[in-house]
Amino acid sequence: MRFLFVDRILELSPGRLIRGIKHVTQDDFYLTCGDDGRPNFIPSLIGETLGQLAAWNVMCTNDFTMRPVAGIVSSAHLLRPVHVGDTIQLESTIDSLDESSVRYHSSAYVGSDEVFRIDSALGPMLPMGDFIDNETIRHQFNEIYRPGEHTVEIGDGTMHADDENGFIYKTKMVFDKIIDCVPGQSMVAEKLVSRSAPYFPDHFPRKPVLPMTVLLECKINLAKAFINRSNLDVNFEKCEMHRIKMSDFVLPGDSLITHLQVKRHDDDGLVLNFRSELDGKRVCVLDVVLPNSRKNHD
């Protein structure tokens, strides 16, 4: 199943700025049931879409010789769900770019609502040929690079379908096993990485690696499971992820152990620290920050 999310690039200024759109439709594979019971685009994949948008700019700038990969994100803000029928307007600004790395920040909007924001992302650059052949990547780019303007019709966000409740979700981004749980304190879970996962053909044809955003979504869902078991009252709609760092690739066949720990829980909300390891070696760390539900409603 395709793991390429930018539908159209509207504007590209090499090494500086890129704008594009993504339509969220019933044809999308990566949908999930939101807290409101409606089908949403999987939230972390809005971040993936913004990352891919920035990557298109970078790859076009260096004539498709190098590509950025996920590295460090200082903070990412999930501000509200995106429903079927929404069009996401995407914008990434390149803050610095050289042969070793790219730094950028990005925003995604639906209408005038900001739905996702990446404050600062830093991605190492690696040779394109390690991941995908040059002809394919150029073809993918040419397919979506159609500069111009796109007019967005703002509707009421209601899905044009007979029955939203009967919608069949095709994928779920979760850990496979909870190994240990101390409610209110910590949790340990395992994700087995299968070659048959639908994102591997695009991510990437020559080197299948687990997308960082898929791992982030699994962690958000693990946080939900932990909070349910701990009987905590927090708001997932305004989730922030801080100091995300992916230090190595996770490959099919790997078994990823993730440790979740409560770092802080006070009037401001809950901070959960995640550390994922392969054979005891750190591969991904981040903090998830969730406001208290009560505070949010005040």
Partner: protein, 137 residues
């Protein structure tokens, strides 16, 4: 500004970047072998140091500093340090014990030598350079 004055902040940033306790970090810790740093951690570290000390550290600056006056082909040939290159590197990385420099060392192995003090020195040099550029301007 000198190595001693920047060290406490560098130590805290190194610990934060590598997700370890500050107690585990000392001035002579080697980032890769002692503290488990990966290549992405170097990117992160440089970015955090630039932010904290309001300096610019161009990528590859450490290698460039080590090369000094030598031309690129005097410093390395086919990715391997020349004898001259090795002397220049040892002079620049004076804080690294001699036994850590291997014969026929490759350029891409240089980061294995870096210690916390290496980064303190880098910051001091970058800050001094910034200061002299500002006074010239």
């Amino acid at each position: 500004m000198n190595t001693e004055t920047v060290y406490p902040k560098v130590r805290a940033i190194v610990a934060d970047v590598l997700v370890i306790d500050e107690d585990e970090v000392s001035l002579d810790s080697q980032l890769i072998s002692d503290l488990g740093a990966e290549s992405i951690d170097f990117l992160d570290l440089v970015f955090q140091l630039e932010k904290e000390f309001d300096i610019k550290i161009p990528r590859g600056q450490l290698e460039k500093n080590a090369r000094g006056e030598l031309a690129e082909d005097e410093f390395e040939k086919g990715g391997v340090l020349t004898d001259q290159g090795m002397i220049a590197l040892k002079n620049y990385l004076s804080e690294v014990p001699a036994e850590h420099f291997k014969p026929n060392m490759k350029v891409n192995e240089i980061p294995t030598l870096f210690t916390v003090e290496t980064f303190c020195k880098l910051i001091v040099a970058a800050a001094n350079e910034k200061q002299s550029a500002e006074s010239v301007a």
